[in-house]
Structures are given as C-alpha cells and as structure tokens.
Subunit: 726 residues, 2 copies
C-alpha cells in the first residue's frame, strides 16, 4: 500500500470562484469540483468528453420532532464555504477470498473537499426574563472523490461535531447531469423489487415506456416516479461512451434509485423510504455509500472494472478459511416449474405453527423435500462433483407462507415429517456432500431475527455451512420496504451473524449488492434481479443475460441458477414455458455470469438426458485466477475467458442475444508453448433458442497459444469451451 499526500495551493481558497481539477492516474478521467453560489458542484470528463455535466451535491434534511425549540433544520444543500482541500494518491493490490482475478489493483487519486455552513439564529430562552439569545452554528461536511482510471466514486462524510450529531434525511440530492439523450438499459425504480424485465430506450423515452415496463412481466410492486429507475444503470452515449451509475458500500443507509428530469437529462438520487416516508436516520461520524460513475469507450471495461469492490472496506473477517466457492444442485426447479410443492399438506386453510402436530397431518403427496428425493439429489451431487445440495421446503410453514401479513410464518428449525434432517445430513456427509440450508423469511424480518441464533446453531449442529435466505412478499414490520435503511441493516446483521457461525450467505430478494462481499466474503451470492425462475413464469428475454453483467452484477455475484438444459418445460411438466436461451447458452452462463456459487439448476434426470453437455458443468470452475473480457456489448454479446484458480486451465464462455453472434476467438491468453485439451460446446448450425434450442455439437481438439477458433452463436445461444492444460 502506498499513500501520498499531495499539497494543494491554499492561495486558491481565497479566490471566490475556485474550481479544483483532479485527474485519474492515467489522466483519462478528470473531475472538476467547485462551490457555486454556496452549492457544491462537480463534473466529470473522460478523454475530453463530458460524462457528468456540472451537477449539485447535497442532502435535504427533515426536522426531528425532538429538535430544540426554535431551532430550524437547515439542509446540507447550500450556504457552503470551502474550508480545506486534501488530495492524495493510493495504490495497492489486494487478494479477494474469491473472485474473478487473483489480484485486484486499487489505484486512485483522492480529493476531499471540507465544506462548512455557518449561520446565526435567535434561540428562545429556557427561563423567563431572558432575551432571545443569538446562537452561532457551524457544521462541516466532507465530500470525498476517488478518481480511478475506470470511473469516479464520491461520498458525503459527516464528522462528529457539536452542531451535527444526529440528523434525519428527507432526501439525498446528488445530481448526475447527463450530457445527452443516451441509450439506457433500465428497470423501473421500485422500493421492493428488482426483478423486472430490463428496458432499452433513450433517456427521453423512459417516461413513455414506463407503464409498459411496470406491467411487463408483472413484477413491479412499489414504483415512485415515471422517470425513476434503478441502479446499476448502464448507458451508452451516441458517440460510443459507456457510462454506468451505481453505488458502493451501502451499509445501514437506504438503497439509492435515480429520478430523471427528462427535460434537463439530470438524474437525482432518490432513496428508499422507511414506513414514515423518511429516508435515513444518521449519527455522526458517518458517511453515505459511494456514488459510482464508471466510464469507458470500451464496453469490456464496464465488466472488468473493480471500482465498486475497491470502494468497499477490506475484509473484516479474520478467518476466511471456511469460505469456499461452491457448485450445487437442489430440490428447487421442480417446485418452481410446478411439478411438486414446497408445502406438505392441504389439510388446513391456514397454519399456526404452535398448534399443529405435524406427525398427525395428512400429506398431499407432492411434497418435494422428502427423504427419498433428497437422497437422490445427494447421490447426483456426489457422482458429479457438486459440493452441496439445496433443499427448499424442508421446514414447516409453507402452507400459507406468503402475503398474509403473518409474522410467525416459519421457525427455521422444525423439519416436515418426511425430511429426516439428521439422516440426510449424515448421508450427504458420508458421500462428501453438504446440504445447503434454506431460510425463506417471507419478509417477516422480525420473526427471522428472533429465530436466527437458534437457526444457525441448528445449522452448525448438522453441518450446514451455507444458507440461501429469501425475502418474498411485503416486509414485516408493516410499511417498511425491501431496500430501506433498516432493511439494509437487517441484511448486514444476517451476514454478520452468519459469519459468527461460519455460514456463507446467498440472499434472495434482498437489496441489490454494492460490493459488500469484499468486506464480508461470506456473502457469496444473491439474487436481486430477474433470475432463472422467471423462465418458468413470464420468461426471460434472450438478451437478458447479456445485460445483467453490466447492471446487476456490478455490485457482486448473482445466484442466477443457470443450467436448464431441458429448455422446454412441457417435456416433463405441465408448464408451457420455454427457456429464452439455447441449451449451450445455458452452459455459457457458468462463465459469463461470474459467481463463486453456481447452481446446476435442472433436474438430475434432465442432466442424464444431456450427459455429454453436462460434462461442461461438471468441469467448469467457479473461482478464478484471471478473467479476460474479450468482447462485450450491452444486450448483444459477452465473451470472456477465465483461468481456474490454482490451475493452468481456462474456460471460455460466449453468450449472445436473439441476433446470434460470430466470434473469432484468439487464444492469446494461453501459456506460451503449452498444449491444451480443448472441448468446444457449440450451438448446432440450425440451433435457435425458440425453434431448435437443444441442437448442439461437442468437439475436441488440442490447441496452443495463438490459435484462433471461429465460433457461431445461435439466436439466444452461445458457446462454452474448456481448455485443460496438458
């Protein structure tokens, strides 16, 4: 680590119209900051082109009802004076516990502007006979920028100080003024879901597309503005710049949305409220999350950037030896598709957990998480080198678990009668496999927190080391939202409690990630976007997985649950839907959608049908020493080569949209002079995601550095290649 403090000419401060310019290490990105009529204002350029036009920064505060008499709350928006500037350079290389590369360089120039507000007010006397007293107020706020070669992060910092101890945020007012009517890949801003279908429009078209976007796929829950969108927001300018807006290190602070003024093309931050409409309760010293602006003229840089991880704090867990990348299968897809159920009985119109003798209950016979079936999945995992088996629906309460405002919906420790928790864990361990725990909370977070310690003790007792959590439905306590400050605190609490018990967390329906997995690497996965499950509901578009790496994956890995090789669900169920990719497209996702946790989501019997193609899933790694993004264009195609951790083997994945794609793959990344066994899983010539999805070829050859492979991806297809060093 190397940190250099650069002196800034203080003489500049005396000048009224002061503006500071700070460049990224390679000089491509330039930040400008100044105080404009008392308002902090910044802009960002990239290679001389405007990325962020001059934009105001600040926070609007709410008056606390406990504020002193006569004291008016003053926003942190204007009336600022620049007190001090600090600039430094930072350069370190760190090693993630798991990741896309073995080493991550964190290299930036930092600029911190210390601002002050000062004012006088007359305060009502506390005793009679005394005149109103003038009181002098002075508050400081720091705006800190980190300028990387691939983007900028900034945040607000609030030192502990007499005039700013506690404050309430009415709204954060960080502006991001766009320089044009860019193309954007967006989903509607929503306080409770991120599972909508991504829209591709000009910024000016968001409003007219909004209602359709809300209806599409039927997923929106709590939208707030017809030009409100979520982050990570990927954009492309007319002249080929790629711009991405998101946030990093969102800890005990509300998740940020962006609200567009589509006249001026200015985005303003829009936080998720609590039950009373307030956006945040703060106690100094504290800071906001980082607001991130990634920019490049090469789309591949959007995918290889580590800016968001770098803006998070280093790992806080002393021992990480128990954290491991995992491939898993599970009792899941057959329930999603509708072939079997999470719940056990139809005897009761509703369930009171404390009043039912489960042993005496009549099962309906379609309960998936039963001993026989779970053993079959364990056998399958053991045979195919999958480390864990997820079992959903193992615990009592699924009969009426969602959307009834039930607080005590699950206890997380009582299995259904046909799930022998001890036997199944013993059986799994005897075959070198672990079970993967499932805690659907039904968003009754109060209930989950009440049971969490016992639930994790039970996991420790039986040898589970990972939990998939779920937050389906409305938050209890009522009125709260999935992405509020208190819920973000809850997710963090779960991660921290899990870490105490050496448990890895894969959090579904939680807030979108912001790189916290650097600090808490037991957060190995999450959902927070439209996952494979929608293939069984309304469907995912063929371009869906060519967008997610630009948006959802910016903050951390996704448990997308790929691997649905039997793409036509009607072949084994009553579900009429069809997956929006070819079979090979599903294989490609194990490489293109980076995650240390990868599911083989299809049924064992479907994998047996396509056992030669399944070989790629058996072989592919999920932790890497290196990653090379070879081609990328949002919603069109992504090609990436990755080197499996601790080996000399490479895996390459290519995924494309409904247009298909031709790739000329130069094997320049291989070790010079070394030979590799190359297996190519490719779409057949006439393959097509809709009309002929399961037509594929598998070919083998020996290759070396510099060889070139010509690959054709079908509509909604892709390719997958394994390169095993000889």
């Amino acid at each position: 680590m190397r940190k250099t403090i650069l002196a800034i000419g203080c003489c500049l401060l005396a000048i009224g119209l002061h503006a500071t310019e700070v460049k990224s290490p390679n000089g491509n990105i330039v930040l400008n900051f100044n105080i404009e009529d008392g308002r902090p204002t910044y802009s960002v350029n990239y290679k001389g082109r405007a990325v962020i036009l001059p934009s105001h920064l600040g926070l609007e505060l709410a008056r606390d009802k406990h504020a002193s008499m006569g004291e008016k709350e003053r926003d942190l928006m204007d009336g600022f004076t620049l007190e001090r500037e600090d600039t430094s350079t930072f350069d370190e290389t760190w090693q993630p516990v798991w990741g896309e590369t073995r080493n991550i360089r964190n290299h930036y120039n930092e600029y911190a502007a210390t601002l002050s507000q000062q004012w006088r007010e007359n305060v009502k006397p506390t005793r009679p006979g005394i005149h109103w007293q003038p009181r002098h107020h002075r508050r400081e706020m720091i705006i800190r920028f980190r300028i990387y070669d691939d983007g900028v992060g900034f945040r607000y910092e609030f030192p502990q100080q007499p005039d700013l101890n506690y404050f309430l945020i009415k709204e954060e007012r960080s502006e991001f003024a766009m320089a044009g009517d860019h193309t954007a890949w967006w989903i509607p801003g929503d306080y409770d879901t991120q599972e909508q279908v991504t829209q591709e429009t000009k910024l000016s078209e968001i409003r007219s597309r909004f209602q359709e976007a809300v209806n599409w796929g039927n997923s929106s829950v709590a939208v707030f503005s017809e030009t409100g969108v979520q982050t990570a927001l990927q954009m492309k300018t007319n002249d080929g710049l790629y711009i991405n807006l998101h946030e990093a290190a969102c800890l005990d602070y509300a998740t940020m949305h962006l609200n567009l003024n589509d006249t001026t093309m200015v985005f303003t931050s829009w936080l998720t409220p609590d039950a009373t409409g307030l956006k945040g309760c703060m106690q100094t010293p504290c800071e906001t999350p980082w607001r991130t602006i990634m920019v490049s003229d090469d789309a591949r840089d959007m995918l290889s950037s580590n800016l968001i991880l770098n803006l998070n704090e280093p790992c806080k867990l002393e021992d990480t030896s128990w954290i491991h990348p995992t491939k898993y299968c599970g009792v899941w897809w057959e329930m999603i598709v509708g072939k079997s159920n999470w719940h056990y009985t139809d005897d009761y119109p509703s369930i009171h957990l404390d009043k039912i003798d489960w042993k005496a209950v009549k099962p309906h016979g379609r309960h998936a998480a039963n001993n026989e079936k779970v053993k079959r999945y364990i056998d399958f995992a053991a045979k195919n080198g999958l480390q864990e088996v997820l079992v959903e629906g193992w615990n009592v309460g699924w009969e009426d678990w969602a959307n009834h405002w039930k607080r005590d919906v699950f206890d997380f420790v009582t299995p259904y009668p046909d799930f022998d928790i001890k036997m199944l864990n013993d059986y799994a361990h005897s075959k070198g496999v672990k079970l993967l725990m499932h805690h659907e909370t039904s968003s009754s977070t109060q209930n989950y927190e009440r049971h969490i310690k016992e639930a994790y003790q039970l996991m420790n007792h039986y040898g589970y080391d990972a939990v998939k959590t779920g937050y389906v439905g409305d938050i209890i306590p009522r009125g709260d939202h999935h992405f509020s400050q208190s819920m973000n605190n809850h997710y963090l609490y779960v991660i921290q409690e899990a870490a105490k018990h050496h448990i890895m967390v894969n959090s579904h329906e939680a807030t979108r990630p912001t790189g916290l997995c650097r600090t808490y690497p037991n957060l190995v996965g999450g959902e927070s976007a439209r996952g494979t499950e929608y293939e069984a509901f309304h469907g995912n578009n063929p371009d869906h997985t060519c967008i997610l790496p630009f948006t959802r994956l910016q903050g951390g890995p996704m448990d997308y649950t790929p691997g649905i090789l039997e793409t036509e669900l009607k072949t084994w169920s009553d579900n009429p839907h069809q997956v929006g990719t070819t079979l090979v497209g599903q294989l490609a996702l194990y490489v293109t959608m980076y995650s240390p946790l990868q599911m083989a989501a299809d049924l064992p019997e479907n994998y047996e049908k396509f056992d030669d193609a399944f070989q790629f899933i058996r072989d592919v790694a999920c932790d890497w020493d290196d990653s090379r993004y070879l081609e990328a264009e949002p919603a069109d195609y992504i090609t990436v080569a990755r080197k499996a951790k601790g080996t000399d083997n490479w895996f390459v994945g290519g995924k494309c949209d409904e247009q298909g794609h031709q790739t000329t793959l130069r094997l320049d990344f291989l070790d010079k002079g070394r030979k590799y066994d190359c297996t190519i899983y490719a779409d057949a010539k006439d393959a097509h995601w809709k009309t002929n999805p399961k037509a594929y070829t598998i070919s083998h050859r020996t290759v070396k550095q510099g060889d070139v492979l010509k690959l054709k991806e079908a509509s909604g297809g892709g390719f997958a290649i394994s390169l095993i060093a000889k």
Copy 2:
C-alpha cells in the same frame, strides 16, 4: 371446576326480533343481546338500572392488497344472522402465584352468539372465455359474553373458515353507550404514553378540558381525538353507580382506547395503529381481547373485583417456584432527582458503542452506578430485609440514549468501568441480596430483541432473577407506537423469553396491563401510568394515588416506587419539587397500591433520618392471603386491610386526597380471641402534604377483633398500621 351447558330455546331463533337475556349468578347484572337490522347489539343493566344502553358491536375491515381480484372486503359490522346460541355456567376457585388474596373465585354465566354473514358476488374469471362466476360467501363470528356479579366481559371470536382466514382490522367498532353524563376520571387517549395527570370531569366536559389535559404535566405524545380517552376508565353516575371500562387479555392485538361521541354519550373502541395506520393483522382462529364493563353501587367493589384476572387464561408456566414477591431498593431516585447521572462521561457528543474504549474514557464523576455506591445500597438492603437492589445506569450507552432515533443504543451486557458486575453480584449474594437488572431499551425494540438472549444469559450467569425494562422515547422501527399490536406482541415476547430464563419482568413505559400476569406470573410489575418519578418533575396531585387503584391497577400491579419519606427534595438536592403526600401517606401506599414488587425508593440516608417510620416498610408484606377494602371513593380515599401471606399478621393502609379523611376502623377482620401488637403510623395533627409533610406519630398498643380505631388523615396524608399476631 364446574361447567354447565344450559339449553336455549332454538324456537326463538326463528323470530325476527329475537332478544336474549342472560343474568349474572346473583341476578344483579343483566345482559341483553339481539340482532338489530343485521347488527349485533347488546345492553347491560345493574339492579334494574341501565349501565350500557343498546350498543352495536362489530369490526371494520381493511382491504388487503393481496385480496383476490374482484373481491371486495366486507366489514364484520352488519348483515348478520343469529345462527346459534350457547349458554353455560362456570364456577371455579383458583390460586394465584402471588396476589391480593389466596383464592380467587371465577364464577360467571356465559353466553355465546354465533353469527353468520352470507352474500354472493360475481368473481372475475381467471381465464378468458369464461363468464363472471357467482361466488357464495359465508362467514361466522362468535360474540362471547361472560356475566359476572361484578361486571361483564365480551369478546369477538373468529373460527378458522374458508371465507375468513386472514383479515386486516381498520377499526374495532365496539360501542359502549352511556346512560347519562357521568363523572369520569380520565387521561387523554394517546398511542405512546399513559403518564398524564388524571382529569375529573363530566363526560360532556372532556372536549373542553382536553387541551388542558394534554398540556398539563407535559406528558402527552400522540393524541388522536379531543374526546379520546384511555382505559381503564372509571366513571360514576349521578345516582351513585360506579362503572369501569377496560380490557382483559390483550395479546398480540392493539391496545384499545375509547372515543366519545359527546352528543350521544356513546364510547366507541379506538385501537392503536401500526406505522401504516392499520389496527390489526389477524389470522383465524383468533379472538379479540375481552372488553370489560365493571359495575357496582359500592366503589369498593371496583377495587376488589377479579373480573379482569378471571378473563385471562390460567397460568401457562409449569414451574413458578422461582417467582417471588420482592421488596427492593435501588440506585435510581438520586438520578431522577438530578443529584447524579445514569451516564458515565461527557467526553463525546454522541456514542457509537462499538467504537469506544470505555476504560480510556474520562468519567465526569457523577456516575451513580459505581461499585462503592452499589455496595452501600446492598448493605442497606441486607440490613433492612429488602431482597433486591435495582441498579440503573450500569451499562454503557447512557450518554445519548434517548430520542435520537439511535437503533444500537445499548448492548445490555457491557458494564461501565466503575461497575464490577461480578464483584457486586458476589458481594450481594454473600449478604443474601440479589441485584435487580435494568434494561432500558430506549424503545429500540429491534435492538433489544437482537440482544435479548445474550442479555438474559448474562443475567443467569451472574444470578439476577428480575429485570426492569424501559421503553422511553419513540419506537424503533419508526412509525410504530407503544400500544400497537406489534408492540404488544413484543412485550409478550419479552415476558416469554424471560420465563424461559426464570426471570421476572417489571416493564416500564409498556402498554397498560390487562391481567396477563395470571397467565404469565413472571410479569410481576409494570409502570404504564404516572409514577413516583413525576414527584421530581411536574409533581403528582395528592389525589393521584386515590385514583390509580380504580384505573391503572385494574389490569395488574404497578411498580409505583413509593416510600419517598424525605418529601422535600431541596433538602438534599437542587430539585425544588416536593412530593404530593405526607410522609405517612407514602407508607400507606405499600398497602393501598397492591404490588408483589415494592420499592423502597428513597435514599438510604433519608431512611436513616426517619428510621422509626421506615420500620413500617421493613415490616410490610407484599403478598397476601386476604384483602378487605374497607372504604373507597375515587380520587377521595381508599382504606384497605390485608393479611400477609402465610401468616396471621395484618397490615392496614389508608390514603386520602387533599381534603384529608376521618376513618373509623373496625378491626372485625382479626381472628377472634387473638391479640395483636398494633403499630399505628399516623399523620400528626398539624400535618399537611404541602406545609408540614413530615409530621407524624407512631403509637403502639395491643388490639383484638372488634376494637375500633379512630384515625385522622391529613391533607394528602394517610395512615399505615401493622398488626402482628401474638
């Protein structure tokens, strides 16, 4: 236990204008129930006089956003048909774990009306090409009445049924139509406090007094109506009937207020809302709390009634051997008065628990809960037969604990550096005394629930067996209220978790009790009203403790913390306030304000100043085999004799308002032929709560059954008598 099912003539059901009459066991109280234009309607008479005029019953429901398409929520208010009537008689005598009497008789006639609502509606088809389908709905609700000789309880019951599985309560609409413009002792209805000064007005004067009542003593927080009042509401009719409205067994349901229509003199129930304004989330089978109407022409019956306890479920704790009545002192009053502090340091403008090295912090020197002082209190308790010593301010976080919307305000396990938790508990135990734990939650209930298990484990580890909990300030999660359904569930959760750890609970600022101490006798005390602490703030009126037994104490004992013998606080502090009773009045409270948990709240040095008067506090019991209310009039005077549990000793207390009182005490309750050492603590002739509060006499004599004592109580005074069997 004896339960008789009485047949009701079903022929009556065929008649449209059916009315059922059910009498109390002694016939004094008569309930009438009928369906009036589809609305359930009841009335109550006492000895032929109207107590409740015909009043409607029902609940207004809120539409759940998850309700099926086309389904309109229908209230449980009207359209009812009487389906079935059941009447029975119940008579049992049970023994409380602690109480005012050794045996409690539970004797009532019960009447349950099963009502049905039926309607048809057209339901939108789920598939195209199908016509709208008529759907038949049928719902059942039971209204159950229990008619006692001293009052009536009723509740709504909702069986599990296809058309009523989950529902949301917009408002409960139980009416209580008064037969005249009664005198009422009331405090403003408030979602977050019950600590206001009681008002005595006619019902018609509530509105004009309301604002004054809200301002008076500066305690109201969240009022909702200018004629909204709290229960237990004590009233007196112009012709001398005493009527009391309250509730029993409020479990996981919002606390009820009463809103008066002061034109018609009809009270309607008004529940406490959640953060979204909703009043309740219900899942069948379930029931509401009991709504209670106590009535008599003798005010003493209001105090001796066990109706509310009887309407609660029997004890649910299998082992109650660890629950014990307790007299205690504590490090408390000196902080309340302002002589010392809960907090330890002034070094920080605010506290982050995880960032402070408490050992390195500079103490301000006024921290009360220090080793030396606590040892002095332990010595005092041991010397004077007090079983426990409460210590507030022992744990870190008091520097900025209230009203800052801080979630992580306390951890409940970390002592300040000058509080040696192991040494002090060991020291106390060596002297036969226990420390009494204090958990101020600052109303951050989420934080308390996160720490509760570890906090109770710490208590078990060091040998604490009782906790005083506190809920000062606004509820976190934000928007919730102290008396909402979710908070009532929280208080119950705390009681149940405490019971698992064999911990007794004394809950301050929690919702007003409704007799739950029968079911959970580890709930040994509570505050939920204006306690002694206000003597150091705005003061309590001399009549205050002549009202509380009629109102607050109906639901359970109060930790009033009496015993302030040094009534003039300026004698030992800078606090200018004076207690609103005489010294002897304070002694009387140990008998008139029943509680199994009684504090000797004054400082040891003040007790040393009045050691002869303190003898009564040393002697008085706090658990009883018998209690006889000898005289009572709300806000005027109360005289009660109690027989100490397991002994032949009696204690008599008399307490009066600012008017003074003359009592002719007939010792008829003593054992025939037995002699008693009688010690009388009386106000001196010229005593007066304000001008001469500490003038008292102590006299001794031997007495026997039939003797008569003439006693004069001063303005704001009282008397206290111990009768020790020879």
